[in-house]
């Protein structure tokens, strides 16, 4: 045990002390955040005193779009043809103009109203202009049909006219399903990435030991199995630390958004806690749906999801890391060899990813149930089902069975991998095939 710890702490220290670790752990989230912040900045950016000249040839609006007193977009009515309007635009008297043709027909909307601006509009400005004009047009149309706005509102169906419930009487609303979908997808995808990134890291570590010929020196003091476990634990710890730092950074940087963009913050209020900036942008767009998202999030059992995430993160990592280590031990100097040997390991991971995309839609399909029980695919697939909650997405029995199978699976792969590893790390100058690895694993030597 002491030796496993020694090996693990060496693996951990040498990786954490590298500059690339700092760069990828702290730099990457900041970079991504900065990128999103820039995106929000440009999308959200509103121009104050955006002057729009309105040339209302058909006298549709009677000199007034609506009653709003906005300083952001100012509509001023003038009488001019398009040529004159274009000239004014070029002279920068106005930022944009709206031209309503003389023969404009309110019912058919033909010929179209033209809006022309000197430069491309920011998303927010565009929204504002579009909303105000559309509302004004809608009101005019209703008036033409002799309906008042109040009558229309009372006639509209609320979203919740139909009450969807599941058999056990729980509410099953659309936003919740949507959020479960997103959470399941993100969690499954993260585990997929983890398996690949840290699995390859283990493989590279083993290859390095073999290629640099230190393996034999080490195994004269440490059992190969201890060396392999130490490596897996050490790199696993690196992964865990890296993830914790990422999560802390993401949440921390999230708090920066209100400081940087007071506008957005005002609309977000107590915005949903999800990897931030993109969510913020959509939240701004449909702040009406925000309430729904919030209540949907509240219904999701995050303790369960985070608990399961950590379990399947570690379980999946341990299971695949041992296999990656076995492949690393069989590879000689040529990293090309690794490619062909890796294929059988990558197949189930990719397969799991495919099942996962199906399972988020239909968590109780036969394929999803199989995928979430089979230990090689369960770490990814189960996250998709767990996101839909217990027992909606997955029954307690299945969850426990899946966890137990994963533990057995990882003991199994580790046992097999250890036997391959033991022979492989001391085998030099020979190209190894899967057939031979099979022999190492299952024949006594």
């Amino acid at each position: 045990m002491n030796k496993i710890f020694l090996v693990a702490s060496r693996e951990f220290k040498t990786r954490v002390q590298k500059k690339t670790f700092l760069l990828s752990t702290i730099g990457l989230p900041i970079l991504i955040f900065g990128f999103y912040a820039l995106m929000i900045y440009f999308q959200v950016k509103t121009t104050d005193n955006f002057k729009v000249a309105v040339s209302d040839q058909s006298k549709l609006f009677n000199g007034k779009i609506d009653d709003k007193k906005s300083t952001e977009v100012i509509f001023s009515f003038i009488d001019a043809d398009t040529a004159a309007l274009n000239k004014k635009l070029n002279n920068q008297e106005y930022d944009a103009y709206l031209f309503i043709p003389n023969d404009y027909n309110l019912q058919s909307g033909e010929p179209q109203i033209a809006f022309r601006s000197s430069k491309a509009l920011g998303l927010m400005t565009r929204e504002k202009i579009e909303n105000r004009i559309n509302n004004a047009l809608e009101e005019k149309k209703l008036l033409a049909l002799n309906i008042s706005k109040g009558q229309l509102d009372s006639a509209r169906l609320e979203n919740n006219a139909i009450s969807f419930t599941t058999n056990d009487g729980k509410k099953d609303n659309e936003t919740k399903v949507g959020i479960s979908y997103a959470v399941g997808m993100i969690a499954g995808f993260l585990i997929y990435i983890i398996l690949f990134v840290y699995g390859t890291m283990v493989m590279r570590g083993v290859m390095e030991e073999k290629v640099s010929r230190i393996a034999e020196v080490i195994v004269s003091s440490v059992k190969p199995f201890e060396l392999m476990l130490g490596k897996i634990f050490g790199i696993g710890a690196v992964g865990l630390i890296q993830f914790i730092i990422w999560i802390v950074l993401v949440f921390g940087l999230q708090l920066l958004i209100p400081v940087l963009f007071p506008d957005v913050a005002a609309q977000m209020q107590s915005a949903p806690i999800q990897p931030g900036a993109m969510g913020a942008a959509t939240a701004v767009k449909e702040s009406g749906a925000l309430q729904g998202i919030l209540s949907g999030l509240a219904e999701i059992n995050f303790t369960l999801i985070i608990g399961c995430f950590v379990f399947y993160f570690l379980g999946g990592y341990f299971m695949y890391a041992a296999l990656f280590a076995a492949v690393g031990s069989a590879v000689n100097e040529d990293p090309q060899d690794a490619q062909s040997l890796l294929l059988p390991i990558m197949m189930p991971i990719i397969f799991a990813m495919v099942i996962m995309t199906k399972a988020v839609n239909d968590p109780n399909s036969t394929l999803a149930i199989f995928g979430s029980l089979f230990p090689l695919t369960s770490p990814i697939v189960m996250m998709a089902r767990v996101a839909h909650g217990v027992p909606d997405g997955v029954s307690v029995v299945q969850l426990i069975a899946s966890m137990a199978l994963l533990v057995l699976g990882f003991l199994g792969t580790t046992w097999v991998a250890a036997k391959i590893y033991r022979t492989g790390i001391l085998m030099y100058g020979k190209k190894v095939t899967w057939k031979e690895m099979w022999k190492w694993a299952f024949k006594n030597n």
């Binding site: 390095e208 230190i214 034999e216 080490i218 004269s220 030597n445």
Partner: protein
């Protein structure tokens, strides 16, 4: 003197061949023991069994009088394999600390011993260098230090001098003598026969997985001697014909002769004196280990097997 290591009928099979086939021998504590053999003779497999990396299929291995228990005895063994390396990106000091701690030393013990050895080998300034900045000879020195610094009872060195310049080779050689004097036993595996002759007390020769020769260097030489003598003399050579010996080679003032069966060197001297030859020197020509090695291994299928083995 008691035996640090005893091998009894040790066997190890691979899928296609017997790598080590019924090998027995014992090694006295404090001796320098040479393990010789052509490529693919089974030396590495044998050494891996002695270091606990492989398990024998059958046979007994006694370490210090008790059945070998790799789990606990590894602290008494230092192994420098032929295929050896270091972590390239690690600092030299940290690397030495790591390897020492794996051998069961505590942090403070490890630090103290590393400092002692680094000072001895004038490597103190290396501590913060990375292994990739070292020359081959320098990393070899570091490997030697990490092999012996936990003061193992049994030190196994597989081709320890390959790639070392004569100066550093002598440095290591002196250390080997020193360690043996302080009670460590050294197993020394190499193809370089002149080094074996110089360093080893006792040798065994392996070929095709079997032990084909076992004894002290002097005994082995005696065993393979061909009763050849070298005579140097003064004056004009006369025609020397005698049933006592046959002349193999004759130069102006030198004679190489082989004593025939039933006679000994005194008979030769007697005869030469009677012939009035003025003898300057008279000494026996013993075969070199190299000759013995080639004589024993040549003709076996050793070369073909060496290529099959990898």
């Amino acid at each position: 003197m008691h035996n640090i290591l005893e091998l009894k009928n040790l066997q190890k099979h691979y899928a296609t061949q017997k790598a080590v086939d019924d090998v027995s021998f014992s090694i006295e504590q404090g001796s320098i023991f040479g393990l010789l053999g052509p490529n693919g003779a089974g030396k590495t497999t044998l050494l891996r069994m002695i270091t606990g990396i492989f398990y024998a299929d059958s046979g007994d291995l006694l370490f210090d009088g008790k059945p070998f228990d790799p789990q606990n005895d590894f602290v008494h063994i230092g192994y420098m394999p032929e295929e050896r390396g270091l972590y390239k990106k690690m600092k030299i000091g940290e690397q030495a600390m790591y390897l020492a701690q794996l051998k069961g030393l505590s942090k403070s013990e490890a630090l103290e011993k590393i400092k002692f050895w680094f000072k001895k080998f004038e490597m103190e300034s290396w501590w913060n260098k990375k292994v990739e900045d070292l020359s081959k000879g320098m990393s070899q020195k570091l490997q030697f230090v990490t092999t012996v610094l936990h003061e193992p009872k049994l030190i196994i060195l597989d081709e320890p001098f390959s790639g070392l310049d004569p100066l550093n080779a002598n440095l290591i050689k002196d250390e080997i003598y020193g360690l043996a004097q302080r009670g460590s036993t050294i197993i020394f595996s190499t193809h370089r026969m002149e080094q074996v002759e110089e360093i080893c007390d006792h040798i065994i020769l392996m070929n095709l997985g079997k032990k084909i020769l076992d004894g002290t260097v002097t005994d082995v030489k005696q065993q393979f001697k061909e009763n050849k003598f070298n005579v140097q003399f003064k004056g004009q050579p006369t025609a020397l014909v005698s049933p006592i010996f046959t002349i193999e080679h004759q130069e102006k003032q030198q004679l190489i002769l082989k004593i025939n069966e039933g006679y000994n060197s005194n008979h030769v001297l007697n005869y030469l004196l009677q012939q009035d030859v003025l003898i300057e020197s008279f000494n026996e020509i013993l075969p070199s280990l190299n000759d013995i090695f080639i004589h024993l291994v040549e003709g076996s299928k050793a070369t073909t097997r060496a290529f099959q083995n990898n």
